[in-house]
Amino acid sequence: MTPVLEVRAVTKRFPGVRALDAVDMAVLPGEVHALVGENGAGKSTLIKVLTGVYQADDGEVLYRGERVSFARPLDAQRAGISTIYQEVNLVPLMSVARNLFLGREPRTRFGLLDIGRMNRDAAETLGRYGIDVDVTRPLRSTSLGTQQMVALARAVAIDAKVLVMDEPTSSLEPREVRTLFDVVRRLRDQGLAVVYVSHRLDELYELCQRVTVLRDGRVVHTGPLEGLERLALVSHMLGRDIGRVRREGLTGFTGEHAATANDTPVLRVEGLTKRHQLHDVSFDVRAGEVTGLGGLLGSGRSETAKAIVGALPLDSGSVSVDGRRLRRPSPAAAIRAGIALLPEDRKAEGIIPDLSVRENIVLAAMPRLARAGIVTRARQDAIVEMFMTRLRIKAAGPEQRVAELSGGNQQKVLLARWLCLHPKVLLLDEPTRGIDVGAKAEVQKLVDELAAQGLAVVLISSDLEELVEGADRVVVLRAGAVAGELVGDEVTEDAIVATLVAP
């Protein structure tokens, strides 16, 4: 059978990194093809190449057997490749029916829109998808499941041959997921090809026929899902052979600090719950210990961290530091209580790009360093110099614009910002992601030192090695809930993976 959509030896480069390296992938009509891989594996880049957002540097893209090159997403769409995104890409304020028919509304004899027919047709179309909703309501007042369905219906209606679904179920309730799957199966049976991107293993096994696994920009496995053990699939994704022997010295962690930990927890997190994101997450963090938060993408690790510092409003749950509960959670209150968070997205939530290295470092500590509201350069300079030396921040000087620094140095600047505050608890969300190997090792060593000095560290990382070698205990999250906790010698890659996949 000829694949309806295929890439051969596709390579895509960005400055300093090869996002896709000679990738081959073929999607057959009438199949649901899973595309999996961790962050940075190249999934989204591949999707963007398939849908015309990016153009491949090398290799070819074949659609229905012919070479194509889509200059922009609209071209791919017109050709018949539709994409359903995680965030619904429709117009929230417009009605369901209008969204469904935007650009191709039914007309009356005089060329005007036939609103009555549009609404009737919309209700009927959605009815066939099992959705019974008032189509004149604004899209955003309907559930996300309905919105996804509308996006799906629209894609199919404009005669799509290939449907790319990027994490479509992350905000859906189980009932809505069932409906979505029914629809996808029906479409598949009608000959549509679906590329299904997700890391929810249960869903993949339920819906998809074949799978392609990406890691570090390369295809490491492709084949049918039936008969593939979950453990094997995850191992492909994370790059660990089953039963591999751990080698020494792969990270900067030495793990020599565990001995100083005492028993009373500095941070106690209880029952964190937020609809769709967190389900009763509870754990303790002790001083002098590195507690890892492990889990696949989308398991709720970053959400947990944000919730702890009050940046994510919760439905219920509490956070206590040294036995005292945080009353009105906000980042400022968390900082006062001694909790600091290094966020995952340093560009959007970390650096103030136009300000200098110095100002970025002292940002949170400024009120403490100032005298009667006046900035005291002397105190700032002293701290900045100390941290620039200690963390080996490479910059033309403390006055350089932080946007000009490399990713690794920016990360160190952010780390310095939080260390300025002498926190009791330090939450690190992917601290070594997107930085060069040398800086990575430095950061890891620093985390060790901090823990040895008595700091309580929470380490979130997708890098299993980092987690295993750096953490004294690991809380494993799955789908927003705690799947298990591993302590001391229990912390091995196999154990983490096993906890991840256990049903």
Binding site: L74, N89, M94, G103, L112, G127, I131, D132
Partner: protein, 334 residues
């Protein structure tokens, strides 16, 4: 087509809470309700208010703002803003008065061509360069005013419409007691409403204002849609200015200062969200009429000046916008 499948998942209808329904209703028809209330209260309180002459007066005085605000409605729904309409209005009036010496056609063609060109320029710059509409139309506010000064000897010359010109009738004639400009404004509103609600272009304007990214991904020609809204705004402001000149009989040069703010206020009070993506022509109409009624009532009271009117308008604006913000929050929750 077959009936809906047995296993269709019913979305619980009770989900549409009363608070949400009320909020939707308020957002859509709030301006009308307040207008009717204001009319009622005024008619009961002031004897002179409900007279036909008075109401006709309100109508004719508001008609020019209605036309300008109509254009503004399109721009704002599309996610932009047009600060130049006041200057364009004045420019349109001057051009019409000057060209009226060559007949009705010229009197209308000159303002439409020039003001349309300004609108087009606004649209092209905004759509192609991505500069903030606020700043671009601020610049054209100055530019249009400059142009106006240039063609009137720095404001010294006031062109007069020839006393026998047909053009004057356009501004001063009446039909069934209401001035022609009122009928023109109503007709334009009807057309505008039709364009917005019943054509593909109208839907595109809502989409671009609601979510430019989504609109682009859904295949709509975003740049063209935006440019056209500014073109419309320029044309309508120019036309309003021309009609006003017909009524006054001359091209008064100092008009229109601050008119863009009145237009924005009317549009916002009428229920259009300033961020774009929602709004109606009828709402804008209600907004303009409401401002007109307030002004009229204050004049009725006599002692108070038009300054009170602006205070009330301003307070009104705040109340409306805060309410809008609150209502959007209710409707957003599932």
């Amino acid at each position: 087509m077959t009936a809906v499948a047995e296993q269709s998942q019913q979305v619980p209808v009770a989900r549409v809470a009363t608070s949400e329904r009320l909020a939707a209703l308020a957002q859509r028809h709030g301006a009308l309700a307040v207008l009717l209330l204001a009319l009622l209260v005024s008619a009961l309180t002031f004897d002179a208010f409900a007279s036909f002459d008075n109401l006709a007066g309100i109508a004719i005085q508001s008609s020019f703002l209605v036309i300008v605000a109509l254009g503004m409605t399109f721009v704002i729904i599309g996610g932009g803003i047009d600060l130049s309409v006041g200057s364009v209005f004045a420019l349109g009036g001057v051009l019409a008065a000057w060209a009226s010496q060559w007949g009705l056609l010229a009197a209308l063609a000159a303002p439409l061509l020039v003001c349309g060109a300004i609108g087009l320029l606004n649209g092209l710059i905004i759509a192609r360069t991505g500069l903030a509409p606020f700043i671009v139309t601020l610049a054209s506010l100055l530019g249009a005013r400059g142009l106006l000064l240039a063609i009137t000897d720095e404001g010294a010359t006031t062109y007069l419409v020839p006393r026998d010109a047909v053009f004057l009738d356009l501004g001063r004639g009446t039909l069934w007691g209401l001035g022609y400009p009122v009928w023109i404004a109503v007709a334009l509103c009807a057309l505008g409403g039709l364009l917005l609600q019943r054509t593909g272009y109208g839907q595109a304007v809502y989409a671009v204002g609601g979510s430019e990214d989504a609109a682009s991904l859904m295949g709509l020609p975003v740049a063209r849609v935006k440019t056209l809204t500014y073109l419309l705004s320029g044309l309508l402001a120019g036309l309003a200015g021309a009609l006003n000149a017909a009524r006054l009989g001359s091209g008064v040069t100092i008009l229109g200062v601050g008119m863009e703010l009145d237009a924005i206020a009317a549009v916002v009070i009428g229920g259009t969200l300033l961020v774009g993506g929602a709004g109606t022509v009828s709402g804008t109409l209600c907004g303009v009429l409401l401002l007109g009624v307030i002004q009229n009532v204050i004049n009725q009271i006599g002692n108070l000046t038009s300054s009170v009117q602006s205070v009330v308008s301003g307070a009104f604006l705040v109340v409306v916008v805060v309410t809008q913000s609150y209502l959007s929050r209710i409707r957003r929750l599932r």
